[in-house]
Symmetry: C2
Subunit: 326 residues, 2 copies
């Protein structure tokens, strides 16, 4: 193991590719393909400038490329290699109520409290089983094909280990397949917090009157962000109207990113699969990522070429953490 900050995310994987090219050259072997490298040092800070660069260089530096390979992200297991073929998008929402702080002694019991309205709105979003309650939200989710379902069966994923690593006592689902399906290819809704309410330790008997609830819905094919936005707005307005509250409701989607999905039968996935089989003696897991990887979608959209995510680090590499290794 090599230890160090960024060993697996992402200095190691960058060097792996450069070393591969160096090795071919040192051994005087013919390179089976040509390479162009894009080394991005700003990924953790939002890849500022990358999109602009891609647009500008599309007709020059990138004019003759056929495929794009990105080595970010990790395998799902500690030992079995994986190829990543999709990531969820995200739609972030703000729900705002009211406008002026009041004292709970002086107004408690006689007004429609904005935070009570907001709590009810947030409570209408998802049921205790994790099912999103917004009408229509699942309508555009791609149906699970038999071929896709089979991919999940062979994936190496230790549920108990994942539970222990995360400190989660019980998942919403009992089988590996259900867990991965709900993490990768179904939408999920998480509530992140409330701005404007009392958030410090201790107690303050305030009636917060301008509160903003924040939640996000992870997006999967073939959900459309504009449709999700409309469904959320309509749902919240409907719940709110039933409360007969004089408070003002404002719903917005300040940030969003589309999901990314590649074809596992694209030529570059076939080539990578063969290469992994040759080196590791087994087929890779075909995995997705529950998080959003904007860069994959960005390359795909701008270059209009097939993109493959080719992770080189293992699940236990501890990226962003103490004792990061590869």
């Amino acid at each position: 193991n090599l230890y160090g900050r960024g060993a697996t995310d992402n200095k190691g994987p960058v060097l792996a590719w450069i070393s591969a090219v160096e090795t071919f050259r040192a051994l005087k072997l013919a390179m089976p393909v040509n390479f162009k490298f894009v080394i991005e040092g700003m990924e953790e800070a939002g890849s500022l400038g990358l999109e602009k660069l891609l647009e500008e260089e599309k007709q020059s530096f990138f004019s003759d490329i056929d495929y794009i390979v990105i080595s970010d992200n990790l395998w799902l297991s500690n030992k079995k290699p994986a190829l990543t073929y999709g990531s969820r998008g995200n739609a972030c929402f703000f729900v705002e109520c009211g406008d002026k702080d009041l004292h709970s002694g002086t107004f408690g019991g006689i007004i429609h409290e904005p935070l009570t309205d907001l709590i009810a709105l947030l409570d209408s979003l998802v049921d205790p089983t994790g099912h999103i309650q917004i009408p229509g939200i699942y309508d555009s989710v791609a149906a699970l094909t038999e071929e896709e379902r089979k991919l999940y069966e062979s994936i190496e994923f230790d549920l108990e280990e994942h539970k222990n690593n995360s400190g989660v006592k019980k998942f919403l689902y009992g089988t590996k397949e259900e867990i991965l399906l709900h993490l990768w290819r179904y939408p999920s809704l998480s509530i992140h917090g409330i701005e404007g309410a009392f958030h410090e330790p201790g107690i303050k008997t305030v009636i917060p009157a301008k509160v903003i609830g924040k939640f996000s819905i992870r997006q999967v094919p073939h959900m459309e962000l504009s449709v999700t936005e409309q469904q959320v707005v309509e749902h919240l307005e409907s719940v709110f109207s039933k409360r007969n509250s004089p408070n003002k409701l404002k719903v917005s989607m300040p940030l969003s990113a589309k999901p990314w999905l590649a074809g596992v039968n694209d030529l570059l996935y076939k080539a990578a699969r063969r290469a992994i089989k040759t080196v590791f003696g087994e087929d890779p897991d075909f995995i997705r990522d529950g998080s959003t990887i904007p860069v994959a979608r960005m390359f795909q959209t701008i270059m209009q070429k097939s993109v493959m995510m080719f992770p080189i680090g293992a699940a236990d590499d501890g990226e962003h953490s103490q004792n990061e290794k590869i």
Copy 2:
């Protein structure tokens, strides 16, 4: 008008009493009663040491007192004097769920999110009409007597003005009597906020995993704090158990204060009423305070004497605010 920081809260009222005694002396009039003054300069900082002082001096300085008059608090109207005969207590609650932050991309969709549990718990507390949903919470609330109801009829209170002053567009009730009853002599529940969730501007797609909801229930006679606590705990545990969540629930009541209520037919209220009628030519409003006034309850409990709150400032004096006046 006299303007200045503390003009009405509370230098003016203190000086009013001292000036009254001075006037009797200057005019060489016989004092109808004897006075002992307690001038408290720490009220805004929690009256540190006052309770200890009262206990210590009960048998000496306070040994010969018959009645206690406190001039804090304000009239309900700008021109009509008032006597205050009660204040609500308060029971503050913490509801805690979970223990470790997780990323919504990596876990969104497969776990019971603690904040979702907490939102559901908070949403179970009060309905859109302001009615508290905790079983039994209204059981011990004193029944409204005919005599008490009549007190409310004659109170001078301009609903529209109160609405404008507070920036509230619509109250939960339409009449003066209902508003005051729900502000003074019925319990109310306010949610103050959540500790541990994302509370900053912008968005962070975190799944907060140790979150503490904070709310309080204003207490009125004859609610008992220990009973309120038990009802809240049982209600929240019942709602939580129906969610089948593996998260941990912890409910506590870190802070509480009992309500205070005086008898409006006590001799000192009768005397004050007569004095006000003599000076102002009209009977005072008999009012209560929706907030908690710990000092009134403290004097009553320790001295076991009748306490009267005798406000001297008017509703528009602007205590704690710009251009405070009396």
